[in-house]
Symmetry: C2
Subunit: 448 residues, 2 copies
């Protein structure tokens, strides 16, 4: 889409040409364009779109813009657009809208659909129920291929996907799936029972979205059926929604690993108070934990008083330990999430981290010793104290970083919380104790 040209047409108020340009563009691009305009102009451009384009564009607009347009267009226009949205998009939209818009829409919806909408709005967030769509093709196993294709032809325009069709019995129990590819390839007079996949993968309405995304990844699916507690088919989930789920779950992990409780909105749209609240809980917890490190230092205050230069190396030791631990924990957390390791690998991981930390620890420690002793010309006991502490700090950091996420998983906690911030706090305390221990040993300080 040629944004410059479109902008020119908007400025020239050449709405006929503009309309012709817009209908040629992708709905996603038009939505991006409308999102970038200010309110009045957005409304004007949106109204130029033919109805079938308008629906697709609407589904791609930002939540804020959707709400704004919903307030300004007539009830009739809004009802038209919403009634043409795919069911899953409709639910998403209704979940985000303020109460007055929802009311305005439900008023113009049939009683049957209203009941269905209310039922969907009740599925827990992040469950299969909240992700699924009801626009799928259902068939009966007695049908012949030719008749099935005929039914698909008749109903396809309203379906979100026709590439997998679902075979159900009279009570809507899922009996099998048949792909459009199978149908196109099969002789027209075969029955579906002969060609369908009889043990299809499926999920339940209350299954968690992360689990569902894993199934899609493992089995390379385009869609999966969703059944209720009585094994009746109630909806399907399609790959495009799963792609969004994958990014959502990753964002959540990134946030958790940076000690932020994931907010419900995008960062840039979230309010300052919300963001502050999502951040302060962990920050407070970590601040209090870090204060214990202070007690360790105070315990060794006399040692520090007699060789005050020891304080100068504390930040470097703590940072290096923290970073070494963060490296290990991040790699292990990610491996758990991707299903590459689980609890039975714990000793393999620890052994791996011990070997890595020896290599890394010794190299960094030697370089560090060289700097402190030869270049900065500190006394040997100080250079030794810092360098030996560094090796131990790295080894401990990597063992803890490798082990804690696996233990968290075993305890049914999210491994992502065992990331950098928590590991750093823990490693800091241990590093300091080791540091003072070696300081007393090598430098020979008297502690009271």
């Amino acid at each position: 889409m040629d944004f410059e040209k479109i902008n020119l047409l908007v400025n020239d108020k050449d709405y006929t040409t503009l309309k012709n340009e817009l209908v040629k563009a992708q709905p996603y691009d038009i939505a991006e364009f409308i999102d970038s305009l200010e309110g009045k102009q957005a409304l004007l451009i949106f109204r130029l779109l033919p109805k079938e384009v308008a629906v697709n564009v609407f589904a791609h607009l930002s939540k804020e813009r959707q709400a704004e347009l919903s307030e300004h267009i007539s009830e009739k226009e809004l009802a038209d657009i919403v009634s043409d949205l795919y069911f899953a998009d409709k639910i998403d939209f209704l979940e985000e809208m303020p109460a007055n818009v929802v009311k305005k829409i439900l008023k113009n919806t049939s009683a049957v659909e209203r009941r269905l909408i209310n039922q969907f709005l009740m599925y827990p967030e992040y469950s299969a129920g909240s992700l699924m769509t009801i626009e799928f093709v259902d068939l009966k196993k007695q049908m012949r291929v030719g008749d099935a294709l005929e039914k698909i032809r008749r109903t396809a325009p309203d379906k979100e996907t026709i590439y997998t069709c679902y075979v159900i019995d009279a009570e809507r129990h899922l009996e099998g799936t048949v792909s459009l590819k199978d149908l196109v390839l099969a002789p027209v007079d075969k029955t579906l029972e002969e060609i369908m996949h009889k043990e299809p993968l499926f999920v339940k309405t209350h299954d968690d979205q992360e689990y569902i995304a894993d199934i899609f990844k493992n089995y390379d699916l385009l869609a999966i059926p969703v059944v209720d507690n009585e094994n009746r088919l109630v909806g399907i989930i399609t790959i495009d929604d799963i792609v969004d789920v994958i990014e959502e779950e990753n964002t959540e992990d990134f946030y958790k690993m940076a000690a932020v409780q994931p907010p419900d909105e995008e960062y840039i749209n979230a309010g300052v108070l919300t963001l502050a609240r999502k951040r302060i809980v962990w920050l407070l917890f970590l601040m209090v934990s870090a204060s214990f490190t202070g007690y360790i230092i105070r315990h060794f205050e006399d040692a520090l008083q007699s060789v005050v230069v020891l304080a100068a190396f504390i930040p470097m030791l703590m940072d290096t330990g923290g970073n070494a631990g963060a490296q290990a924990s991040t790699m292990v957390i990610r491996s758990i999430v991707l299903g590459e390791i689980d609890f039975k690998d714990i000793f393999r991981v620890i052994w791996k981290e011990i070997r890595i930390s020896f290599i890394v620890g010794i190299i960094l420690s030697v370089l560090n010793f060289a700097r402190i002793y030869f270049i900065e010309r500190y006394p040997l006991p100080i250079a030794l104290t810092v360098s030996v502490t560094l090796i131990f700090a790295i080894i401990i950091a990597k063992i803890i970083g490798g082990m804690l996420p696996i233990l968290a998983k075993k305890l049914k906690l999210d491994p992502a919380i065992m990331a950098s911030p928590l590991i750093t706090t823990l490693v800091d305390a241990l590093t300091l104790m080791i540091y003072f221990f070696f300081a007393i040993t090598f430098i020979g300080i008297n502690v009271s």
Copy 2:
């Protein structure tokens, strides 16, 4: 798949029942099972599989197991399996195999395919060329719908997807796309020219996979055509490979944000030396940077000597500053990756972070003051020094954390490197300077 039952059958050596159970299972599950066996048994079970199942299972096996099996099965068996793999899977496989296996396979490949394979192996890693498959349906625009469906029926079994078909001219230039849905819905005597999408989205062979994944996400695609420099259609990329790309890119970001250079293999399979190398570079860089913090402390050695308890608060201040910065940088990096913010939002982000850090900073600072002054009964000047430093540390950390990723993006660097470790090192130094400044001011220490 019922692993217990299968394991029993393996132990009982009841290979007939085992074979019948296995062919009913999903290829992915069989592959998982074979991966869990030890070498000899894996080979035995793999050989039980009928050929068409064996190919699908092979594509899902771990690289290590693929290599191992390739060494042990006959050249004929290997050639059969490899020749039935989809082209993209074949390339993936060949890229990972040791030279002797590759040679063994290429020997049994036709000259035409060998040339094609060699050409594919030359596309840069992470490019469209390395992701694409050549098993797609191509059609001509003069064709009628009925003939097109006939051609699809004839060729479908060898194609990775038939849900989008590609319309090309005599020189193989991409002229449009037509979905199987469109074909099924259209009258059989229409020409493809009448129903095809004339301006299809496409990518070039050298486009980066991250860019391609974004297109899939934005436009909800199932497949995209790939053209060469002369706009000739050379392949297609399908959504299942893009799902893998999305996870790969996320893993890369997780690693970079934890100061690890992303390795080529899974963590659990990567060698200790490789992992040590991927981690030591950043660790060394950060260790040297953190050493500068030591110079700051030494500069204020006299201040510290006279009030040595000041040292006790350094870890808490550094950790809290580091965590506050990590929160901001992670949220901003993720927003950049997801395309929610770019350079023009820099002031909005800074302003947001300033407000958040005031709220968070003041609350934490007051709690901290209460603890130090009222509970631990330190003198007022010390409580003030620590608490005021804390506010400034948080504000500075959040501004730096919010700003640096956006600047990195502007400078065409990966924003992910501006994550926790680097921000922490920077914030540490600034926090210490502020700390000693306030210490001198409030406590009235004489500095030489």
